[in-house]
Amino acid sequence: MYEEQYQPPHSHWLEELCALPGVSGREGPVRDWIIAHLPAGAAYRVDPLGNLIVNGGQEKVMLCAHMDEVGLIVTHITDEGLLKFDHVGGIERAAYLGRQVFVGKNALPGVIGVVPVHLLRAEAKKQLPAQESLCIDIGADSREAAARLVKPGDTATFEPGFTRFGEGFVQSKALDDRVGCLILLELLWQNTGLCAVFSAREEVGGAAAAAAFALRPRCAVIIETTTASDLPGVSGAQRVCELGGGAVVPFMDRGTMYARELYERAMSLAKKAGIPAQTKSVIAGANDAHTIHTSAGGIPCIAISVPCRNLHSPGVVMRESDARAVFQLADLLWKELTAQ
């Protein structure tokens, strides 16, 4: 049965996990950290695309959470020593103007600069600065000074900003999908023989399909985060889902028609156990199920997500009670799917 106050023993790992830099394609630090925190005796391997596969044997069910996060990638160094950049994954630039970032393997601090509003004409004040006009300012005075420390292709992550606030809320970068990684890790600690994939590159298309192809599970459960827009002024279906409403189990999104049988099973399990669960009232978003469900001749998928505000920003917001609901539902579902 659902235990509302049950706090999985490794919940305190969330802050550390969120702080790790892991922009898509550069998941190394996250992968290494997870490997170091696997339960003793867990067998693992890393595939050529960077997926971390734990207990990949004769499994029937594969659970998956992605290690990567949205971020920035340096494309050019200007004569003045500033770094031009592009987005890795979908980010709206309104969410990072004037914010701190950490660039490259040495986590060099920088700030995304903006021309002060005082110096803009009236019309320009209402517009966001053009993406191509933006730079990361690391404090270098010249191209040479910057190039000694940064090179094009280096990625940048947002300042972690991990903060607990309000009544059980958390804000941080990279909650998408480090909270999923934490839940998956917790599932590994509490169950033996659970097959987990910590996937790479989800935010840029996804490498998880390769892991699914190698494992050929009977079905896959994706542990994710999903957009909630439960804000004042947004009503009805447009709210998508609610923080505090529990685990989000979608029947469909922009990437996947989830397996009907799995959807109904998850929902009825939640109901029976008293685990708060909700579905999405807008067909939006996508996750690793998108590529997994067409891999290896077709793999039925279900997603169980933590509802989050400000997804894909430096300040993603979630509620810890929702993560607990996702953990308990995923745990129950895995037990039921593997019991047969």
Partner: protein
């Protein structure tokens, strides 16, 4: 700088910043107190004309103007907040005590123009509290939250560098003066600059000074800005203001001193009002010639303001040289 920028002081609620600044100012001035509007004032004895030093204590932020269900707040800007930069910005809400919160970003699936800046009517704060109204009364101030951090070289980023760097420059100047003779000083670390300069105007009346030196920040050049508008350079030294509203003799004396003492400087030319307390101090009552020294700053009025710490030093050195010279004149 870390101590000064760690204290909060959104215009009109400067208590925290004032307390910190007063503590630091007491190391140099014997009679530090807060005046009727809340500015921190102090004096230093000396010989010669009495000179008023001003920097503002307050920082831009927001004020809570409404409560919404679900623990959300409606806010209005307090000072010239840049609405373009607030989405997903972490904040500190100065309610009955300090609370953390965040400004929600527009949900991606809802129709919004990704090229447009958010408008204040649409900007909310997420408190995560079930009863925010009980803890956060209307009028509570909200400040931007970002950790102070060193960048390469002497560059430093934090919110509220406008104008805690000015406060730091005055404190450093007093430190450089030490026990050396200089002209008598009235120091004011004034409140409410970002909302019109009432603090400086009121405090200057009581300073009974013969002239005033105002220290604020100004625009350092960055890509996208016009060189004639953003005339400062990070690391390029103190900016000496030249404007029809500023005293020409003082500006020229400052420039000559900077040259003579090898203090790096640039000239900042303005065609009228300076947008600083220098505009206000001259309306305080007695005729008070004013000069303006500015510390170059990037990303003004965002959470990511940047200064070069060497520019604080050159500002302090130039002030100290001026005060020493005027004291022996």
């Amino acid at each position: 700088m870390r101590t000064l920028t760690a204290a909060a002081g959104v215009s009109g609620r400067e208590e925290d910043a004032a307390e910190t600044a007063a503590r630091l100012l007491r190391q140099h001035c014997g009679d530090v107190r807060r005046d009727a509007l809340g500015s921190v004032v102090g004096t230093r004895p000396g010989r010669g004309p009495r000179i008023l030093l001003d920097a503002h204590l307050d920082q831009i932020g927001m004020a809570v103007v409404g409560h919404e269900p679900g623990g959300f707040l409606r806010v209005a800007p307090c000072g010239g907040m840049d609405a373009r930069c607030v989405a997903a910005q972490s904040v500190i809400i100065h309610g009955r005590r300090d609370f953390r919160g965040i400004i929600p970003a527009a949900p991606p699936h809802l129709k919004h123009d990704g090229e447009k800046s958010p408008e204040w009517n649409d900007i909310l704060i997420d408190t995560g509290l079930s009863d925010a109204a009980a803890e956060i009364p209307l009028g509570s101030r909200v400040s931007l939250c970002a950790p102070p951090r060193r960048l390469l070289g002497e560059r430093f980023t934090a919110p509220s560098l406008d104008d805690r760097t000015g406060v730091a420059a005055i404190l450093r100047c007093l430190e450089l003066l030490g026990d050396k003779p200089a002209c008598p000083l009235a120091v004011q670390l004034s409140v409410q600059e970002e909302v019109g300069g009432a603090g400086a105007r009121a405090a200057a009346f009581r300073a009974e000074a013969d002239e005033a030196l105002v220290v604020d920040v100004s625009f350092a050049w960055a890509p996208g800005a016009a060189r004639e508008e953003a005339q400062g350079t990070l690391g390029g030294g103190v900016m000496i203001g030249v404007s029809p509203t500023l005293d020409e003799t003082m500006s020229e004396a400052l420039e000559a001193l900077a040259r003579r003492n090898n203090i790096p400087y640039t000239i900042e030319v303005m065609s009228g009002r300076t947008g600083t307390n220098a505009d206000r101090i001259q309306q305080s009552g007695p005729a008070l010639p004013c000069a303006l020294l500015s510390i170059p700053l990037r990303n003004m009025h965002t959470a990511g303001e940047i200064v070069d710490l060497r520019d604080i030093e050159s500002t302090a050195r130039l002030m100290a040289a001026y005060l020493t010279e005027r004291g022996t004149a």
